[in-house]
Amino acid sequence: MFDMSPYLVLIPLLPLLASALIAFLGPRFLRQHSHWPCILAVLTSCVLSILVLFSLGQHEEGPLKHSYYTWIPADNLSIAFALQADGLTAIMLTAITFIGSLIAIYSVGYMHGDPGYARFFAEISLFIFSMTGLVLADNFLLLYAFWEGVGLCSYLLIGFWFTRPSAAAAAKKAFLVTRLGDLGFFIAILMIWTGISDTLSYDSVFQFKDNSGFMTAVCLLLFCGAVGKSAQFPLHVWLPDAMEGPTPVSALIHAATMVTAGVYLVARCTPLFVQSATAQVIVASIGAFTALLAALIAVTQNDLKRVLAYSTISQLGYMFLALGCGTLAIGAATPGAAMALMSMAVVAAIFHLYTHAFFKALLFLSAGSVMHAMGNVIDMRRFSGLRKVLPRTHWTFLCGALALAGFPLLAGFWSKDEILAAALGASLEGHPYRGVYLVLFVTGVATAGLTAFYTFRAYFMTFWGEERIPPEAGHHAHESPPVMTVPLMILAAGAVFIGYVHAEPLTDWLGHFLEEHTTPLRGAGHELIPAALKYVPLASGTLMALGGIFLAWWMYVRQAGLSARLAESVPRLYQMSLNKFYFDELYSFFIIQPIIGLAEFCRVIDLYVVDGLVDIVAEIPRLFGVLFRPIQNGLTQFYALAMALGVAVFLVAMVWRMALAP
């Protein structure tokens, strides 16, 4: 078999080259053809990723690995530029490059005629470079470098229309808030370096065994990075604002790929996390709480993209809920069960990540198509009944919405079921925090209902009811061009069928693949959940999904005025949700305002105390200067006279000395 490992570097390298090419040639020479290098490079990376997937299947001895050179050879720190591809990486790679290439193609239509056309594709390529590098990295420092790379791309792309103050502010907010998480991540890397391994490579770090507070601290700091990047409570506030960027960016970066970097990090570090039951229960709780919180906010939002943004936060919370379920501290009597639970948790999270990438990208792109037709109006109160105007967009949005809501037999149904099963599994006997996990399971089920409700609320508000089109759309509210609708249809097919890579109990290809080719999961069994309990999550999830969809239909189609009356009957609750539970206001009051006050204080100190001291020091030579200033009268002959007298004095002194000398 052909050895892929030395060629792994091509997967990130090609988009990087494309990015450089577009950046240097785009604005002047490529212009309206700037998308070609980006699309070709990402498509090639996609093919290479699929090759990696296949060659892993035939590669028996563990992950593909290649060390290119020693990046940092310092005294007791030796970091290699090494890439690796195991099952987890291969799954991530295919999702990133496949969805990335579809979105790049879609952007050709969406961004057509934008003055920053070339810049957009250069930044998208740079993002694909960073993201593929992130999942391919073989040590924590390299991971961190690419981690910051995606953060930078996110900043650049949110602020793509940087002349709009709101976009510039949103970009700044996203960057600063995620930096807060990155700080924790970096401290975790330093702790790993000092306490675990000098090379920071995954192999050496993941063999470390410890059940003291050190491990919990490392895990929580790593999770802190993930919370920032994946927009979990309390750092979730940046993601909804990130919708200021172009819609393809929201789809690619802030729904399908970059925000899942945190999930990838925690999944990657499973061998560390499972050793600390405390860290795991915190991960799961924050995940579940975020899922519920974001779903509650999404229920009342009127901006279509914001509904989807909160839905993304909520679904990411689901993934963390799943990841937090696995632990090895489940009791010595059942090591097999512990392995099975861990494997189930990771598989569930990655599976949901995978399906979510498809249907959320689809939903965002469909929303973009709606926006495109409506003249950039995205407020759902201003349009409705678009079924006839945008027939293809309507169908693709419906596919995505059904998948997200967990409608039976679609992608989201299978993956959500897995997550609920993992939460239920963790609440079984032997787990130190089983009571908590039972609560989390119930939260997850409730969130599933809310998810179905808000998704279909958005769907019914946009596509049903009487046909209304805002004046901004002009007279040409029409379906988007094929370059936009074809990617939508491919993604719609994905949203419907991609669940069958791991549709327990029908198929379990994904689970098998991950278990076989991802070191910590290898050899895990499936003897965890009793058959009787197996259908509890399935049944409850289905029930909640159908209930949510029915409720949305009842409130927004059947009894159209009901929602307004309901909002009036509980004004407090409605206002809380509409204003996102006042998180922005709280942060502003408790964090931003005090910091601004401190900055103002420092400014006054600097202006009057520090500058004053400097001015005083400067004033002393000026005062002495008063003595000598009249000499400078500008008369040439006066200067010549002074010089002559000086020479005379000098000569006299010299002669005097010589006369006195013995």
Partner: protein
């Protein structure tokens, strides 16, 4: 042969030239005269160099002097050009008209007793152009 008295003579002439130049440079306000005075100081120094070279029986001082003369010629070209520019700006060669390089707080200096304006010279008699026969009047004598 004792050359020391000879050397003294040359040095005395050089010192006189230098002193005259210094006094001229400090006392005269005409830019061209100041420049000529500076040249005179330069020649005094050159004379010293030549005298010492002769006294020490080597040619270094003389070679040096040749260079000084050459450089002085170049200087003269540039200095006269500059002086011409200055003259065109103010229509005068008075050096005290150029005081801009003083401190901003210092008042400009004015001459308390300005020189009398230069006497208006009698125009020279206009000669008849050559090559033309003068107009002959009637002869005054018939001797």
């Amino acid at each position: 042969m004792n050359e020391l008295p000879m050397l003294h003579n040359y040095l005395v002439v050089g010192a006189i030239l230098f002193a005259l130049g210094t006094v001229g440079f400090l006392a005269r306000r005409n830019l061209i005269v100041m420049f000529l005075s500076a040249e005179m100081m330069l020649q005094g120094v050159s004379l010293n160099l030549v005298a010492f070279a002769r006294y020490r029986s080597n040619l270094q001082g003389q070679a040096f002097t040749l260079f000084i003369i050459t450089v002085a010629a170049c200087e003269a070209g540039i200095a006269l050009a500059l002086i011409l520019m200055l003259y065109r700006r103010r229509r005068s060669l008075d050096v005290t008209l150029w005081q801009e390089l003083r401190e901003p707080t210092v008042e400009p200096t004015f001459d308390e007793e300005p020189l009398p304006p230069p006497p208006v010279e009698e125009p020279l008699p206009r000669l008849t152009p050559a090559g033309l026969e003068p107009v002959h009047g009637q002869e005054t004598s018939h001797v």
